[in-house]
């Protein structure tokens, strides 16, 4: 089992928008990456904890770059990571991702429809690739 405080973990920071379909897609994608696809290499960071100035959340951002997933153009996740002193390896906007996967139309809020789940998974797969790349770059840089 890996050390939960390992500095090699990439922070995944999704939108906190509750009651919004695209926010739900962002969170589903984050859970997929951190729980299924790359659990050893990533750590889920709550946007709400960053807003509250939580020390652990800020420390996670100080250790490794973050991948942010925003549900709308306000881009709260990306802005908050930067304001918290973190660096963003890659920022995603769910709407832009949907434009690349038009066949996966997201609907639903409390529970996403099948399209929303498939969109979240497609996004999670993209993020996993970014995570791999960021970690390999980190290895090269020592």
């Amino acid at each position: 089992m890996s050390d939960p405080k390992s500095p090699r973990k990439i922070a995944i920071v999704p939108c906190s928008g509750i009651g919004k379909t695209y926010g739900s897609v962002s969170r589903e994608a984050a859970y997929d990456v951190t729980g299924e696809l790359r659990p050893e290499d990533t750590r889920l960071v709550s946007l709400a904890m960053l807003v509250l100035g939580d020390e652990d959340a800020r420390a996670t951002l100080a250790e490794a770059p973050a991948v942010t997933i925003d549900g709308c153009k306000l881009a709260c996740a990306t802005k908050m990571v930067r304001e918290s002193g973190g660096t963003v390896a890659q920022d995603y906007a769910v709407l832009d991702v949907y434009r690349r996967y038009k066949q996966f139309k997201p609907q639903g809020i409390a529970e996403l429809n099948e399209g929303g789940k498939q969109l979240a998974h497609a996004l999670a797969e993209e993020i996993a690739t970014v995570v791999d790349h960021s970690l390999s770059q980190g290895d090269k840089n020592g």
């Binding site: 695209y22 709308c72 153009k73 709407l95 949907y98 434009r99």
Partner: protein, 148 residues
């Protein structure tokens, strides 16, 4: 450059360009000789949300007044838009397929959707509403939504 009628309600500001005509559904029509440039009003784009896809009828399509000229899919809704003019589509803004978010970013200028060539402008114009009337219509819709 057009001037704008502006309505601020709560945290929202809606602009109505004063140099064109409107449908009550929120499409604008700007005559350029016998070619009419069309697009979505600022109010309608804000009300509809961020545009994901905009499908405009292709060049060569013949349209009757109010016949579907475009379907817009946003993060909130799918909207079918009726043509504000009778005629033939002669140009579609390439941004509609590449970067439809331009509708949200610049609805009265670079966010135009199509150009329709017409011989019926005077007749169709009589069925459209002027900027002040659209402004009043928009104000009533916006206030109604805000109070819901």
């Amino acid at each position: 450059m057009p001037k704008y009628l502006e309505l601020t309600l709560d945290k929202f500001t809606f602009k109505v360009a004063d140099d064109r005509f409107y449908t009550p559904a929120g499409l604008w029509a700007l005559p350029e000789g016998n070619r009419i440039r069309i697009g979505l009003s600022d109010f309608q784009q804000q009300r509809s949300g961020d545009v994901a896809f905009a499908e405009i009828k292709p060049v060569g399509t013949q349209l009757a007044f109010d016949e579907e000229v475009a379907v817009i899919e946003t993060i909130k809704v799918n909207i079918s838009l009726g043509s504000p003019v009778t005629g033939k589509v002669v140009e579609v803004n390439p941004a509609m397929s590449d970067a439809p978010e331009v509708i949200n970013q610049d609805p009265y200028d670079t966010g135009w959707m199509a150009i329709i060539e017409t011989d019926h402008w005077e007749a169709d114009k009589a069925r459209l509403i002027n900027p002040q009337t659209y402004f009043d219509h928009m104000k009533s819709l916006a206030e109604e939504e805000l109070n819901q």
